[in-house]
Amino acid sequence: MKSLFWKEINAFFGSLLGYLVLALFLVALGLIVWVFPESSVLSYGFADLEVLFSYTPYVFTFLIPALSMRILAEERKTGTWELLRTSPLSILQIVLAKYLALLTLVFVAILPTLIYYFSIVQLGDPIGNLDQAGFFGSWIGLIMIGAVFAAVGIFSSALTSQQVLAFVLGVFLCFVLYFGFSAAADLQAGNFAYWLEEFSLSYHYISLSRGVIDSRDIFFLVGMIWLFLGGTIIVLRSK
Protein backbone atom coordinates (compact mmCIF):
# COMPACT_ATOMS: atom_id res chain seq x y z
CA MET A 1 0.00 0.00 0.00
CA LYS A 2 2.87 2.31 0.86
CA SER A 3 4.53 1.78 -2.49
CA LEU A 4 1.28 2.52 -4.32
CA PHE A 5 0.92 5.73 -2.32
CA TRP A 6 4.43 6.84 -3.24
CA LYS A 7 3.96 5.81 -6.84
CA GLU A 8 0.99 8.16 -7.10
CA ILE A 9 2.89 11.02 -5.47
CA ASN A 10 5.87 10.44 -7.77
CA ALA A 11 3.67 10.19 -10.82
CA PHE A 12 2.35 13.65 -9.97
CA PHE A 13 5.63 15.34 -9.21
CA GLY A 14 7.47 13.41 -11.90
CA SER A 15 5.57 15.20 -14.64
CA LEU A 16 5.43 18.82 -15.64
CA LEU A 17 1.65 18.69 -15.54
CA GLY A 18 1.65 18.30 -11.76
CA TYR A 19 3.67 21.45 -11.17
CA LEU A 20 1.63 23.28 -13.77
CA VAL A 21 -1.65 22.48 -12.03
CA LEU A 22 -0.27 23.54 -8.64
CA ALA A 23 1.25 26.73 -10.03
CA LEU A 24 -1.98 27.59 -11.81
CA PHE A 25 -3.94 27.08 -8.60
CA LEU A 26 -1.68 29.31 -6.56
CA VAL A 27 -1.46 32.01 -9.24
CA ALA A 28 -5.25 32.11 -9.55
CA LEU A 29 -5.69 32.36 -5.78
CA GLY A 30 -2.91 34.93 -5.48
CA LEU A 31 -4.50 37.12 -8.12
CA ILE A 32 -7.93 36.90 -6.52
CA VAL A 33 -6.73 37.61 -3.00
CA TRP A 34 -4.08 40.25 -3.63
CA VAL A 35 -4.38 41.77 -7.12
CA PHE A 36 -7.86 41.92 -8.60
CA PRO A 37 -9.29 45.17 -7.22
CA GLU A 38 -12.82 43.79 -6.88
CA SER A 39 -11.79 41.04 -4.51
CA SER A 40 -8.37 42.15 -3.25
CA VAL A 41 -7.85 42.14 0.50
CA LEU A 42 -5.66 45.21 0.15
CA SER A 43 -8.43 47.37 -1.30
CA TYR A 44 -11.01 45.85 1.05
CA GLY A 45 -9.43 47.57 3.97
CA PHE A 46 -10.14 44.95 6.63
CA ALA A 47 -7.65 42.37 7.90
CA ASP A 48 -9.82 39.49 6.77
CA LEU A 49 -9.24 36.52 4.47
CA GLU A 50 -12.91 35.83 3.81
CA VAL A 51 -12.24 36.26 0.10
CA LEU A 52 -9.69 33.40 0.08
CA PHE A 53 -12.20 31.03 1.60
CA SER A 54 -15.13 32.02 -0.54
CA TYR A 55 -13.22 31.68 -3.83
CA THR A 56 -11.11 28.58 -3.17
CA PRO A 57 -14.05 26.12 -3.41
CA TYR A 58 -14.66 27.49 -6.93
CA VAL A 59 -11.06 26.81 -7.86
CA PHE A 60 -11.21 23.41 -6.15
CA THR A 61 -14.20 22.44 -8.27
CA PHE A 62 -11.84 22.44 -11.25
CA LEU A 63 -8.50 21.75 -9.65
CA ILE A 64 -9.31 18.55 -7.79
CA PRO A 65 -11.07 16.73 -10.65
CA ALA A 66 -8.05 17.72 -12.77
CA LEU A 67 -5.75 16.09 -10.23
CA SER A 68 -7.89 13.01 -9.83
CA MET A 69 -9.14 12.32 -13.34
CA ARG A 70 -6.32 9.97 -14.31
CA ILE A 71 -5.98 8.20 -10.99
CA LEU A 72 -8.16 5.19 -11.86
CA ALA A 73 -9.25 5.92 -15.44
CA GLU A 74 -5.69 5.67 -16.72
CA GLU A 75 -5.06 2.34 -14.99
CA ARG A 76 -8.11 0.90 -16.64
CA LYS A 77 -7.30 2.37 -20.04
CA THR A 78 -3.71 1.08 -20.15
CA GLY A 79 -4.55 -2.27 -18.57
CA THR A 80 -2.30 -1.76 -15.54
CA TRP A 81 -5.45 -2.17 -13.47
CA GLU A 82 -5.04 -5.90 -14.15
CA LEU A 83 -1.61 -5.78 -12.52
CA LEU A 84 -3.00 -4.10 -9.42
CA ARG A 85 -6.03 -6.37 -9.19
CA THR A 86 -3.96 -9.54 -9.39
CA SER A 87 -1.56 -8.24 -6.73
CA PRO A 88 -2.15 -9.01 -3.05
CA LEU A 89 -3.67 -5.54 -2.57
CA SER A 90 -7.41 -5.52 -2.01
CA ILE A 91 -9.62 -2.99 -3.78
CA LEU A 92 -10.04 -1.14 -0.47
CA GLN A 93 -6.27 -0.84 -0.08
CA ILE A 94 -5.84 0.35 -3.67
CA VAL A 95 -8.56 2.98 -3.28
CA LEU A 96 -7.25 4.13 0.10
CA ALA A 97 -3.65 4.42 -1.13
CA LYS A 98 -4.76 6.47 -4.09
CA TYR A 99 -7.10 8.59 -1.97
CA LEU A 100 -4.41 9.36 0.59
CA ALA A 101 -2.01 10.34 -2.19
CA LEU A 102 -4.62 12.67 -3.63
CA LEU A 103 -5.32 14.12 -0.21
CA THR A 104 -1.63 14.80 0.26
CA LEU A 105 -1.56 16.69 -3.03
CA VAL A 106 -4.57 18.77 -2.03
CA PHE A 107 -2.89 19.53 1.28
CA VAL A 108 0.33 20.54 -0.49
CA ALA A 109 -1.73 22.85 -2.68
CA ILE A 110 -3.40 24.57 0.29
CA LEU A 111 -0.30 24.75 2.47
CA PRO A 112 1.17 27.89 0.81
CA THR A 113 -1.99 29.84 1.71
CA LEU A 114 -0.65 29.89 5.28
CA ILE A 115 1.68 32.59 3.97
CA TYR A 116 -1.42 34.70 3.33
CA TYR A 117 -2.33 34.24 6.98
CA PHE A 118 1.01 35.54 8.19
CA SER A 119 0.86 38.43 5.72
CA ILE A 120 -2.53 39.48 6.97
CA VAL A 121 -1.45 39.10 10.59
CA GLN A 122 1.40 41.51 9.83
CA LEU A 123 -0.82 43.92 7.88
CA GLY A 124 -3.43 44.17 10.60
CA ASP A 125 -3.63 47.32 12.65
CA PRO A 126 -2.63 46.67 15.37
CA ILE A 127 -0.49 43.72 14.22
CA GLY A 128 -2.28 40.42 14.81
CA ASN A 129 -5.75 41.93 14.56
CA LEU A 130 -7.41 38.97 12.83
CA ASP A 131 -10.24 36.59 13.63
CA GLN A 132 -7.98 33.64 14.44
CA ALA A 133 -10.76 31.17 15.12
CA GLY A 134 -12.52 32.21 11.93
CA PHE A 135 -9.37 31.69 9.92
CA PHE A 136 -8.51 28.25 11.24
CA GLY A 137 -12.11 27.12 11.19
CA SER A 138 -12.26 28.09 7.54
CA TRP A 139 -8.90 26.53 6.86
CA ILE A 140 -9.95 23.19 8.34
CA GLY A 141 -13.23 23.53 6.45
CA LEU A 142 -11.29 24.09 3.26
CA ILE A 143 -9.25 20.94 3.79
CA MET A 144 -12.44 19.01 4.50
CA ILE A 145 -14.02 20.36 1.31
CA GLY A 146 -10.86 19.36 -0.56
CA ALA A 147 -11.10 15.89 0.98
CA VAL A 148 -14.72 15.49 -0.09
CA PHE A 149 -13.93 16.73 -3.61
CA ALA A 150 -11.01 14.28 -3.77
CA ALA A 151 -13.35 11.40 -2.92
CA VAL A 152 -15.79 12.64 -5.57
CA GLY A 153 -12.90 12.87 -8.05
CA ILE A 154 -11.80 9.29 -7.39
CA PHE A 155 -15.38 8.11 -7.71
CA SER A 156 -15.83 9.74 -11.12
CA SER A 157 -12.44 8.41 -12.25
CA ALA A 158 -13.65 4.91 -11.36
CA LEU A 159 -16.80 5.29 -13.43
CA THR A 160 -15.06 5.64 -16.79
CA SER A 161 -11.79 4.85 -18.51
CA GLN A 162 -11.89 8.20 -20.32
CA GLN A 163 -9.93 10.83 -18.41
CA VAL A 164 -11.78 13.79 -19.93
CA LEU A 165 -15.10 12.24 -19.06
CA ALA A 166 -13.89 11.62 -15.51
CA PHE A 167 -12.90 15.30 -15.28
CA VAL A 168 -16.24 16.61 -16.56
CA LEU A 169 -18.13 14.24 -14.30
CA GLY A 170 -15.99 15.25 -11.31
CA VAL A 171 -16.53 18.97 -11.92
CA PHE A 172 -20.25 18.41 -12.29
CA LEU A 173 -20.58 16.35 -9.10
CA CYS A 174 -18.49 18.80 -7.06
CA PHE A 175 -20.53 21.66 -8.39
CA VAL A 176 -23.85 20.04 -7.55
CA LEU A 177 -22.70 19.04 -4.08
CA TYR A 178 -21.25 22.41 -3.21
CA PHE A 179 -23.50 24.92 -4.96
CA GLY A 180 -26.37 22.90 -6.38
CA PHE A 181 -28.13 21.96 -3.16
CA SER A 182 -27.93 25.50 -1.78
CA ALA A 183 -29.21 26.94 -5.02
CA ALA A 184 -32.06 24.43 -5.05
CA ALA A 185 -32.82 25.27 -1.43
CA ASP A 186 -33.13 28.94 -2.36
CA LEU A 187 -35.86 28.04 -4.81
CA GLN A 188 -37.89 26.21 -2.16
CA ALA A 189 -39.50 27.41 0.99
CA GLY A 190 -40.13 25.96 4.42
CA ASN A 191 -38.97 22.65 5.80
CA PHE A 192 -37.95 21.11 2.52
CA ALA A 193 -35.53 23.97 1.85
CA TYR A 194 -33.98 23.38 5.24
CA TRP A 195 -33.42 19.70 4.47
CA LEU A 196 -31.95 20.46 1.08
CA GLU A 197 -29.62 22.97 2.66
CA GLU A 198 -28.40 20.29 5.06
CA PHE A 199 -27.12 18.28 2.08
CA SER A 200 -25.16 21.19 0.71
CA LEU A 201 -21.42 21.21 1.27
CA SER A 202 -21.31 24.99 1.31
CA TYR A 203 -23.76 25.09 4.22
CA HIS A 204 -21.44 22.99 6.41
CA TYR A 205 -18.40 24.82 5.13
CA ILE A 206 -19.83 28.21 6.06
CA SER A 207 -20.82 26.81 9.41
CA LEU A 208 -17.21 25.74 10.03
CA SER A 209 -15.85 29.10 8.88
CA ARG A 210 -17.60 30.83 11.78
CA GLY A 211 -14.81 29.39 13.83
CA VAL A 212 -16.83 26.77 15.64
CA ILE A 213 -15.85 23.21 14.84
CA ASP A 214 -19.24 21.55 15.09
CA SER A 215 -19.10 17.76 15.23
CA ARG A 216 -22.25 17.55 13.06
CA ASP A 217 -20.47 19.35 10.24
CA ILE A 218 -17.42 17.12 10.56
CA PHE A 219 -19.64 14.00 10.65
CA PHE A 220 -21.44 15.11 7.53
CA LEU A 221 -18.22 15.80 5.60
CA VAL A 222 -16.53 12.58 6.71
CA GLY A 223 -19.73 10.73 5.86
CA MET A 224 -19.63 12.18 2.35
CA ILE A 225 -16.03 11.02 1.97
CA TRP A 226 -16.94 7.47 3.00
CA LEU A 227 -20.00 7.52 0.79
CA PHE A 228 -17.96 8.30 -2.31
CA LEU A 229 -15.05 6.02 -1.45
CA GLY A 230 -17.56 3.25 -0.79
CA GLY A 231 -19.20 4.01 -4.11
CA THR A 232 -15.79 3.80 -5.78
CA ILE A 233 -15.17 0.37 -4.26
CA ILE A 234 -18.59 -0.87 -5.35
CA VAL A 235 -18.03 0.40 -8.90
CA LEU A 236 -14.58 -1.20 -9.09
CA ARG A 237 -15.85 -4.52 -7.73
CA SER A 238 -18.57 -4.69 -10.35
CA LYS A 239 -16.17 -4.16 -13.27
Binding site: K2, S3, L4, W6, K7, N10, A11, G14, S15, T78, G79, T80, W81, E82, L83, L84, R85, T86, S87, P88, L89, S90
Partner: protein, 301 residues
Protein backbone atom coordinates in the same frame (compact mmCIF):
# COMPACT_ATOMS: atom_id res chain seq x y z
CA UNK B 1 -0.53 -30.89 -8.46
CA UNK B 2 0.55 -27.31 -8.06
CA UNK B 3 -2.31 -25.98 -10.10
CA UNK B 4 -5.66 -27.54 -10.69
CA UNK B 5 -8.54 -26.10 -12.65
CA UNK B 6 -11.82 -27.95 -12.57
CA UNK B 7 -15.06 -27.42 -14.46
CA UNK B 8 -14.54 -23.71 -15.05
CA UNK B 9 -17.50 -22.01 -16.67
CA UNK B 10 -17.76 -18.39 -17.71
CA UNK B 11 -20.70 -16.79 -19.43
CA UNK B 12 -20.53 -13.41 -21.14
CA UNK B 13 -23.98 -12.11 -22.06
CA UNK B 14 -25.52 -15.54 -22.70
CA UNK B 15 -22.47 -16.77 -24.62
CA UNK B 16 -20.53 -19.57 -22.95
CA UNK B 17 -16.90 -18.48 -23.18
CA UNK B 18 -15.69 -21.32 -21.01
CA UNK B 19 -17.55 -24.59 -20.81
CA UNK B 20 -16.33 -27.00 -18.16
CA UNK B 21 -12.62 -26.36 -18.52
CA UNK B 22 -10.48 -28.72 -16.43
CA UNK B 23 -6.78 -29.40 -16.44
CA UNK B 24 -3.88 -29.60 -14.05
CA UNK B 25 -0.18 -28.85 -14.08
CA UNK B 26 2.60 -30.67 -12.29
CA UNK B 27 5.49 -28.69 -10.79
CA UNK B 28 8.62 -28.32 -12.87
CA UNK B 29 6.81 -28.64 -16.16
CA UNK B 30 5.88 -26.08 -18.78
CA UNK B 31 2.32 -26.28 -19.99
CA UNK B 32 1.43 -24.84 -23.37
CA UNK B 33 -2.11 -23.53 -23.40
CA UNK B 34 -3.01 -23.58 -27.03
CA UNK B 35 -5.98 -22.39 -28.98
CA UNK B 36 -7.09 -20.10 -31.77
CA UNK B 37 -7.90 -16.47 -30.97
CA UNK B 38 -11.05 -16.16 -28.90
CA UNK B 39 -10.93 -19.74 -27.68
CA UNK B 40 -10.97 -18.73 -24.01
CA UNK B 41 -7.26 -18.84 -23.19
CA UNK B 42 -7.02 -15.36 -21.70
CA UNK B 43 -10.31 -15.74 -19.86
CA UNK B 44 -9.08 -18.93 -18.20
CA UNK B 45 -5.81 -17.28 -17.20
CA UNK B 46 -7.58 -14.21 -15.84
CA UNK B 47 -9.77 -16.44 -13.70
CA UNK B 48 -6.77 -18.36 -12.36
CA UNK B 49 -5.10 -15.07 -11.42
CA UNK B 50 -8.22 -13.78 -9.71
CA UNK B 51 -8.93 -10.93 -12.12
CA UNK B 52 -12.23 -12.41 -13.27
CA UNK B 53 -14.74 -14.38 -11.28
CA UNK B 54 -16.02 -17.56 -12.97
CA UNK B 55 -19.69 -18.51 -13.15
CA UNK B 56 -18.83 -21.99 -11.99
CA UNK B 57 -15.94 -24.30 -11.21
CA UNK B 58 -12.89 -24.18 -8.97
CA UNK B 59 -9.24 -23.21 -9.11
CA UNK B 60 -6.75 -24.58 -6.63
CA UNK B 61 -3.15 -23.42 -6.42
CA UNK B 62 -0.76 -25.40 -4.23
CA UNK B 63 -3.80 -26.77 -2.44
CA UNK B 64 -5.32 -23.34 -1.76
CA UNK B 65 -8.63 -22.26 -3.19
CA UNK B 66 -7.88 -19.33 -5.48
CA UNK B 67 -11.47 -18.14 -5.64
CA UNK B 68 -12.16 -17.85 -1.92
CA UNK B 69 -8.69 -16.88 -0.67
CA UNK B 70 -7.29 -14.56 -3.36
CA UNK B 71 -5.07 -12.74 -0.86
CA UNK B 72 -3.19 -15.90 0.04
CA UNK B 73 -2.98 -17.12 -3.50
CA UNK B 74 -1.89 -14.01 -5.37
CA UNK B 75 1.65 -13.93 -3.90
CA UNK B 76 2.10 -17.47 -5.26
CA UNK B 77 1.33 -16.41 -8.82
CA UNK B 78 3.45 -14.46 -11.24
CA UNK B 79 1.21 -13.21 -14.02
CA UNK B 80 2.09 -11.54 -17.29
CA UNK B 81 -1.17 -10.34 -18.88
CA UNK B 82 -1.80 -10.24 -22.59
CA UNK B 83 -0.47 -7.02 -24.22
CA UNK B 84 1.87 -6.62 -21.24
CA UNK B 85 0.50 -3.51 -19.50
CA UNK B 86 3.20 -1.36 -17.86
CA UNK B 87 3.49 2.09 -16.34
CA UNK B 88 5.35 3.54 -19.29
CA UNK B 89 6.20 6.79 -17.51
CA UNK B 90 8.23 4.97 -14.88
CA UNK B 91 11.88 4.02 -15.08
CA UNK B 92 12.69 0.33 -15.36
CA UNK B 93 14.27 0.09 -11.96
CA UNK B 94 11.67 2.31 -10.32
CA UNK B 95 8.91 0.15 -11.78
CA UNK B 96 10.44 -3.08 -10.48
CA UNK B 97 10.96 -1.56 -7.04
CA UNK B 98 7.35 -0.42 -7.01
CA UNK B 99 6.10 -3.86 -8.09
CA UNK B 100 8.21 -5.58 -5.46
CA UNK B 101 6.85 -3.18 -2.85
CA UNK B 102 3.30 -4.11 -3.76
CA UNK B 103 4.16 -7.73 -3.04
CA UNK B 104 5.47 -6.73 0.37
CA UNK B 105 9.20 -6.72 -0.36
CA UNK B 106 11.23 -3.90 1.19
CA UNK B 107 14.70 -2.72 2.11
CA UNK B 108 17.66 -4.92 1.28
CA UNK B 109 15.59 -7.85 0.15
CA UNK B 110 13.76 -5.70 -2.39
CA UNK B 111 17.00 -4.20 -3.71
CA UNK B 112 18.53 -7.63 -4.02
CA UNK B 113 15.51 -9.09 -5.86
CA UNK B 114 15.40 -6.14 -8.26
CA UNK B 115 19.09 -6.56 -9.03
CA UNK B 116 18.63 -10.29 -9.52
CA UNK B 117 15.74 -9.78 -11.91
CA UNK B 118 17.61 -7.09 -13.84
CA UNK B 119 20.51 -9.48 -14.32
CA UNK B 120 18.39 -12.47 -15.17
CA UNK B 121 16.39 -10.63 -17.81
CA UNK B 122 19.38 -8.78 -19.23
CA UNK B 123 17.88 -5.40 -18.35
CA UNK B 124 20.86 -4.07 -16.42
CA UNK B 125 22.02 -1.66 -19.15
CA UNK B 126 18.46 -0.34 -19.52
CA UNK B 127 17.58 0.07 -15.85
CA UNK B 128 17.76 3.87 -15.89
CA UNK B 129 15.65 4.23 -19.01
CA UNK B 130 11.99 5.06 -19.07
CA UNK B 131 9.84 2.11 -20.06
CA UNK B 132 8.31 4.19 -22.86
CA UNK B 133 11.77 4.35 -24.47
CA UNK B 134 12.18 0.58 -24.65
CA UNK B 135 11.55 -1.66 -27.64
CA UNK B 136 8.85 -4.29 -27.52
CA UNK B 137 11.31 -7.07 -26.73
CA UNK B 138 12.73 -5.17 -23.79
CA UNK B 139 9.27 -4.23 -22.54
CA UNK B 140 8.46 -7.93 -22.56
CA UNK B 141 11.51 -8.50 -20.39
CA UNK B 142 10.33 -5.81 -17.99
CA UNK B 143 6.93 -7.52 -17.85
CA UNK B 144 8.58 -10.86 -17.16
CA UNK B 145 10.84 -9.36 -14.50
CA UNK B 146 7.77 -7.84 -12.85
CA UNK B 147 5.90 -11.12 -12.92
CA UNK B 148 8.84 -12.88 -11.24
CA UNK B 149 9.91 -10.21 -8.75
CA UNK B 150 8.23 -11.86 -5.76
CA UNK B 151 9.60 -15.31 -6.62
CA UNK B 152 6.24 -16.95 -7.38
CA UNK B 153 5.74 -20.71 -7.47
CA UNK B 154 3.33 -20.62 -10.38
CA UNK B 155 4.02 -18.50 -13.44
CA UNK B 156 1.28 -17.63 -15.89
CA UNK B 157 2.22 -15.95 -19.15
CA UNK B 158 -0.47 -14.84 -21.56
CA UNK B 159 0.95 -14.81 -25.10
CA UNK B 160 4.41 -13.71 -24.00
CA UNK B 161 5.94 -13.74 -27.47
CA UNK B 162 3.41 -12.07 -29.75
CA UNK B 163 4.79 -9.22 -31.79
CA UNK B 164 8.45 -10.02 -31.23
CA UNK B 165 10.99 -10.28 -34.01
CA UNK B 166 12.70 -13.65 -34.60
CA UNK B 167 15.76 -12.79 -32.54
CA UNK B 168 13.75 -11.47 -29.61
CA UNK B 169 11.54 -14.55 -29.91
CA UNK B 170 14.49 -16.89 -29.38
CA UNK B 171 15.79 -14.78 -26.50
CA UNK B 172 12.47 -14.57 -24.68
CA UNK B 173 11.87 -18.29 -25.14
CA UNK B 174 15.27 -19.07 -23.68
CA UNK B 175 14.48 -16.75 -20.78
CA UNK B 176 11.14 -18.44 -20.16
CA UNK B 177 12.79 -21.84 -20.17
CA UNK B 178 15.39 -20.63 -17.74
CA UNK B 179 12.97 -19.14 -15.23
CA UNK B 180 10.72 -22.17 -15.39
CA UNK B 181 13.13 -24.50 -13.62
CA UNK B 182 11.59 -25.81 -10.39
CA UNK B 183 8.43 -23.82 -11.04
CA UNK B 184 5.10 -24.45 -12.62
CA UNK B 185 4.64 -22.47 -15.78
CA UNK B 186 1.63 -22.03 -18.02
CA UNK B 187 1.97 -20.16 -21.24
CA UNK B 188 -0.70 -19.44 -23.75
CA UNK B 189 -0.05 -19.14 -27.43
CA UNK B 190 -1.57 -19.79 -30.80
CA UNK B 191 1.79 -20.62 -32.35
CA UNK B 192 2.50 -24.33 -32.56
CA UNK B 193 6.27 -24.01 -32.98
CA UNK B 194 6.39 -22.26 -29.65
CA UNK B 195 4.85 -25.26 -27.95
CA UNK B 196 7.29 -27.57 -29.73
CA UNK B 197 10.16 -25.33 -28.70
CA UNK B 198 9.54 -24.97 -24.97
CA UNK B 199 6.60 -26.92 -23.60
CA UNK B 200 6.38 -30.29 -21.88
CA UNK B 201 2.61 -30.59 -21.79
CA UNK B 202 -0.08 -29.32 -24.11
CA UNK B 203 -3.67 -28.33 -23.50
CA UNK B 204 -5.64 -27.43 -26.59
CA UNK B 205 -8.79 -25.39 -26.13
CA UNK B 206 -11.33 -24.27 -28.69
CA UNK B 207 -14.63 -22.44 -28.23
CA UNK B 208 -14.34 -22.76 -24.46
CA UNK B 209 -13.84 -26.52 -24.40
CA UNK B 210 -10.71 -28.55 -23.76
CA UNK B 211 -10.05 -30.78 -26.75
CA UNK B 212 -6.70 -32.28 -25.86
CA UNK B 213 -4.72 -32.43 -22.62
CA UNK B 214 -1.63 -34.54 -22.98
CA UNK B 215 2.14 -34.44 -22.91
CA UNK B 216 3.88 -33.13 -25.99
CA UNK B 217 5.58 -36.49 -26.62
CA UNK B 218 2.31 -38.40 -26.63
CA UNK B 219 0.72 -35.88 -28.91
CA UNK B 220 3.63 -36.04 -31.29
CA UNK B 221 3.81 -39.83 -31.41
CA UNK B 222 0.10 -40.15 -31.94
CA UNK B 223 0.60 -37.97 -34.95
CA UNK B 224 3.60 -39.76 -36.32
CA UNK B 225 1.82 -40.98 -39.41
CA UNK B 226 4.09 -40.54 -42.41
CA UNK B 227 2.96 -39.42 -45.81
CA UNK B 228 4.67 -40.42 -49.05
CA UNK B 229 4.00 -38.50 -52.21
CA UNK B 230 4.80 -40.36 -55.40
CA UNK B 231 5.00 -38.62 -58.75
CA UNK B 232 5.64 -40.31 -62.09
CA UNK B 233 5.52 -39.34 -65.75
CA UNK B 234 2.89 -41.94 -66.50
CA UNK B 235 -0.65 -41.85 -65.24
CA UNK B 236 -1.14 -43.84 -62.07
CA UNK B 237 -3.98 -46.25 -61.42
CA UNK B 238 -5.21 -46.35 -57.83
CA UNK B 239 -5.95 -50.07 -58.24
CA UNK B 240 -2.23 -50.76 -58.16
CA UNK B 241 -1.98 -49.56 -54.61
CA UNK B 242 -4.71 -51.72 -53.10
CA UNK B 243 -2.21 -54.50 -52.43
CA UNK B 244 -0.17 -52.18 -50.16
CA UNK B 245 -0.17 -52.51 -46.39
CA UNK B 246 -0.74 -48.78 -46.06
CA UNK B 247 -3.92 -47.60 -44.49
CA UNK B 248 -4.85 -44.79 -46.80
CA UNK B 249 -4.05 -43.48 -50.22
CA UNK B 250 -5.43 -40.85 -52.52
CA UNK B 251 -4.64 -39.02 -55.71
CA UNK B 252 -3.43 -35.51 -55.95
CA UNK B 253 -3.14 -35.26 -59.73
CA UNK B 254 -3.37 -37.88 -62.46
CA UNK B 255 0.22 -38.87 -61.98
CA UNK B 256 0.51 -38.20 -58.26
CA UNK B 257 -0.50 -40.39 -55.33
CA UNK B 258 -0.37 -39.69 -51.62
CA UNK B 259 0.18 -42.74 -49.44
CA UNK B 260 -0.20 -42.55 -45.65
CA UNK B 261 1.66 -45.35 -43.98
CA UNK B 262 2.40 -46.28 -40.38
CA UNK B 263 5.60 -47.96 -41.55
CA UNK B 264 7.37 -45.75 -44.04
CA UNK B 265 10.22 -48.15 -44.81
CA UNK B 266 7.84 -50.92 -45.89
CA UNK B 267 5.82 -48.54 -47.99
CA UNK B 268 8.89 -47.23 -49.80
CA UNK B 269 9.96 -50.77 -50.69
CA UNK B 270 6.52 -51.56 -52.07
CA UNK B 271 6.53 -48.40 -54.14
CA UNK B 272 9.90 -49.24 -55.66
CA UNK B 273 8.66 -52.74 -56.54
CA UNK B 274 5.60 -51.25 -58.18
CA UNK B 275 7.76 -48.90 -60.25
CA UNK B 276 9.88 -51.81 -61.46
CA UNK B 277 6.89 -54.02 -62.24
CA UNK B 278 5.04 -51.38 -64.23
CA UNK B 279 8.22 -49.88 -65.70
CA UNK B 280 7.25 -46.40 -64.52
CA UNK B 281 9.39 -43.33 -64.93
CA UNK B 282 9.84 -41.86 -61.48
CA UNK B 283 9.93 -38.08 -61.08
CA UNK B 284 9.93 -37.81 -57.31
CA UNK B 285 9.13 -39.59 -54.10
CA UNK B 286 8.71 -37.25 -51.14
CA UNK B 287 8.25 -38.06 -47.52
CA UNK B 288 6.54 -35.72 -45.05
CA UNK B 289 5.67 -36.04 -41.41
CA UNK B 290 2.40 -34.69 -40.14
CA UNK B 291 3.43 -31.93 -37.77
CA UNK B 292 1.74 -30.42 -34.76
CA UNK B 293 0.58 -27.50 -36.83
CA UNK B 294 -1.56 -29.81 -38.94
CA UNK B 295 -2.89 -31.59 -35.86
CA UNK B 296 -3.80 -28.26 -34.33
CA UNK B 297 -5.56 -27.16 -37.49
CA UNK B 298 -7.47 -30.43 -37.74
CA UNK B 299 -8.57 -30.35 -34.12
CA UNK B 300 -9.62 -26.74 -33.94
CA UNK B 301 -11.21 -26.36 -37.33
Amino acid sequence: MSLEVSQLTKIYSSQKVLDGVSFSVTPGRILGFLGPNGAGKSTTMKIICGYLAPDGGAVSILGKNALTAPKQVSPLIGYLPEHNPLYVDMYVREFLEFSGGIYGLSGNKLRQRVLEMLQKTGLEPEQHKKISQLSKGYRQRVGLARALIHDPKVIILDEPTTGLDPNQLVEIRALIKEVATHKTLILSTHIMQEVEAICDDVVIINKGKILVADSLENLKSSASEIQLILETEEELDLQWFTQFDSTKFGTKGKSEVIISAPNAGEARKEIMQLIQQRKLNLISLNQSKKNLEQIFREITR
